[in-house]
Amino acid sequence: MRRYAAVLKDSLVETLDRKSLTFLLAVSAFIILLCASVGYRELDAEGTLRHLVRHFNTVATFRGMNARATRFDVHFDVSDVREVVGGEGDSSVEYECTLTAAPVKEFHRCVLAWQAAKSEESRVEGDSVPEPGPEAEESFVQAKFRERFIPRVTVRGKSAEGDARAFDVRIRTSRRAVLEGSHEISVLFGAWSTRLPTSVAVFLIGVEVLVAEYIAGIFGLLIAIVFTAGFVPAMLQKGTLDLVLARPIRRPGLLLTKYVGGFLYIVFPAVLLIGGCWLILSWRADFFNFGFLASIGLLLATFALLHSFSVLCGVLFRSSIASIMMTVGLWGVSWLVGVVRDGVHAFQVDWAAPGALVKALDALHLILPKTRDLGRAAVELIARGNLGAEASTMMAQQAGAEALPVQWGSCIASSALFVAVMLTAACWVFSRRDY
């Protein structure tokens, strides 16, 4: 045990010497500071709901593959807003209000257009507008709320008041921050502030995906691959390895410890960056998204996959440059396979892809590291943590859920298998070689 601890410590000395860890930690600290500089202030319920309904007059229509937003000249407003705070131990909030749409004629055009788009018929033209039934009106309003990720709404039509239609609306949400426009955002420690056009939850999904998927998931991983790719080749240098192999240590143990050393190297900055951002964002927004925190695991899993391949390349080629290029190459290819496979499966509906192509993609997807799936899984975790399962599914569908669902079980199992195969091969080659 002492021997392997010494190898780990040696890896640590190596990273500290290269200043690369310091660099990663500094970048992480800067990003955490940026997150800390954003503050949120809750606005009044009436203003929030008014903001929320203001774009109900836009309907998405489809022409073939292209979506187009059509705006109708109808004005939505709320009045008589009452807040019903949730029952025992429930953090959810409930609002009751009256929703009005005016003028009625334009409102009807709007509802009809929405119905037509839903049933993919051509748009209603002309002046003679048929009257949609009260049920259609109610489901239109309900759908508009659902578009804004508010699944639990009841809408009941009231008698017309003048040239306006009125509805009794009862909204129930998990918390205020999932409502569009409920908060004011201030950036750079209050230097500038404005009403957030989306909900805090959706905004945080954006920020968290940026941090976990782009900053850590692309930039951070790339740096980690570059810096850790040199570990094994440096150890294998002629004259360096002799000093170690002459000691009473087994080669597979030595190599696996080097692998773990490289892995721990990324654990520190990943935990600092995502953990730090999580803590700060949770504190500022007063909501703990454990999905974001859990995405550390997926980031580390992605690195574990790529690093195992990097170690194998290091043993085979004894060159960090070769290792970096092969590993980044594998990353790119595996990601591309994921994207193309999702695309092909999505278009299967109206374009029958050749069976051989689908099979080949599935096979490649099975053996290659599932970098894209892990990335999508992280996004899913983040969205679900912020919006809840129901609303995040709605969000995914809206974003074009043509992608195949992430299969967590097979994804984790095949990733573990990939790591095992890579490391076994690396240990086998390392044990048999003469140095």
């Binding site: 010494a6 170690v244 002459a246 009473p248």
Partner: protein, 306 residues
């Protein structure tokens, strides 16, 4: 039981036969010198014994265990040729690393490391990064890491490489000291004069074959060559002496003869004494190890070696 033993050790690299069946046995407490030209297979031999390279055929044992068993290396130290320390270490942290790899406890390391740094003369540089060291300093550190865990067996591949004469003398003293404490030392070198100074036994390896092996005194004593000194004028007798010996050479105050056995030697002495000239000195002729080495590698592989 020998501490180091090989039987018919064979090693083939892809297209080189580095060892072609080498059998050696080194007893505990010996300093064993392995000599040979560049590429003779000396390093290969050591690497196989330490499990750094794998043998193609034959057997090899270290401290009674088959090579390749990590436990066999627990009590073994190694100074590789052309070693390269990871340059992010200091002498101190490097020794700590290698000592831990050998399984030394933290307490033992704390006590042992400063002592070792002192011993190899790196006290001033102990906390400097190795990348700032000179070649000789690195070599001293190499010796330090080989001895850090007080091993019973030491493999030293060109230990004096790049070390100045003072340092060489220090290293020789260290080796003698280790021997006096019962350690076994396996020394690879082509600095013959040094090997001669410290080794108990030497072997000459040439093109992967063991060409000669023996203890230093018997190897450097040339067989049947003697130096004779007399108290009278010997010159007039030379033609007669010539007839009784294989080789004859005039040296200061006497002659050097190469004779065919003891009787022939006594015949020469009797002949001279009968002429009224007394024998004042008789010494068996000494050769340097270099002479032996050059003779050995010049003779064809099949030729008899003593």
């Amino acid at each position: 039981m020998p501490v180091i033993e090989t039987r018919g050790l064979v090693k083939h690299y892809r297209n080189v036969q580095a060892l072609k069946g080498v059998s050696v046995a080194v007893e505990a407490g010996e300093i064993y010198g392995l000599l040979g030209r560049n590429g003779a297979g000396k390093t290969t031999m050591v690497k196989i014994l330490l499990g750094i390279a794998h043998r193609t055929a034959g057997e090899a044992f270290l401290l009674g265990r088959p090579v390749g068993d990590p436990a066999a290396r627990a009590r073994v130290g190694f100074l590789p040729e052309d070693h390269r320390f990871p340059d992010y270490h200091t002498a101190e942290s490097a020794l700590d690393f290698y000592a831990s790899l050998s399984g030394m406890s933290r307490r033992d390391r704390r006590a042992r490391i400063p002592e070792m740094i002192e011993r190899v003369g790196l006290k001033e540089a102990a906390r400097r990064k190795i990348r700032t060291y000179s070649k000789g300093m690195k070599q001293r550190l190499g010796l330090g890491q080989a001895m850090i865990h007080d091993p019973d067996v030491l493999f030293l591949d060109e230990p004096t490489d790049g070390v100045d004469p003072v340092g060489r003398k220090q290293i020789r003293d260290v080796l003698v000291d280790l021997k006096s404490r019962g350690k076994t030392i396996f020394l690879n070198s082509h600095l013959l004069s040094e090997v001669e100074l410290v080794s108990d036994r030497v072997a000459i390896l040439e093109l992967g074959l063991l060409r000669r092996e023996g203890d230093v005194p018997s190897m450097t004593t040339a067989k049947d060559v003697y130096e004779l000194r007399f108290d009278g004028r010997i010159d007039p007798l030379l033609p007669e002496i010539q007839k009784r010996v294989r080789g004859l050479r005039r040296i200061d105050q006497g002659i050097e003869v190469d004779v065919d056995g003891r009787d022939a030697l006594n015949g020469v002495i009797d002949f001279v004494r009968d002429r009224g000239i007394g024998l004042v000195g008789l010494t068996p002729k000494k050769q340097t190890l270099e002479d032996v080495f050059l003779q050995t590698i010049d003779s064809p592989p099949g030729a008899p070696t003593s």
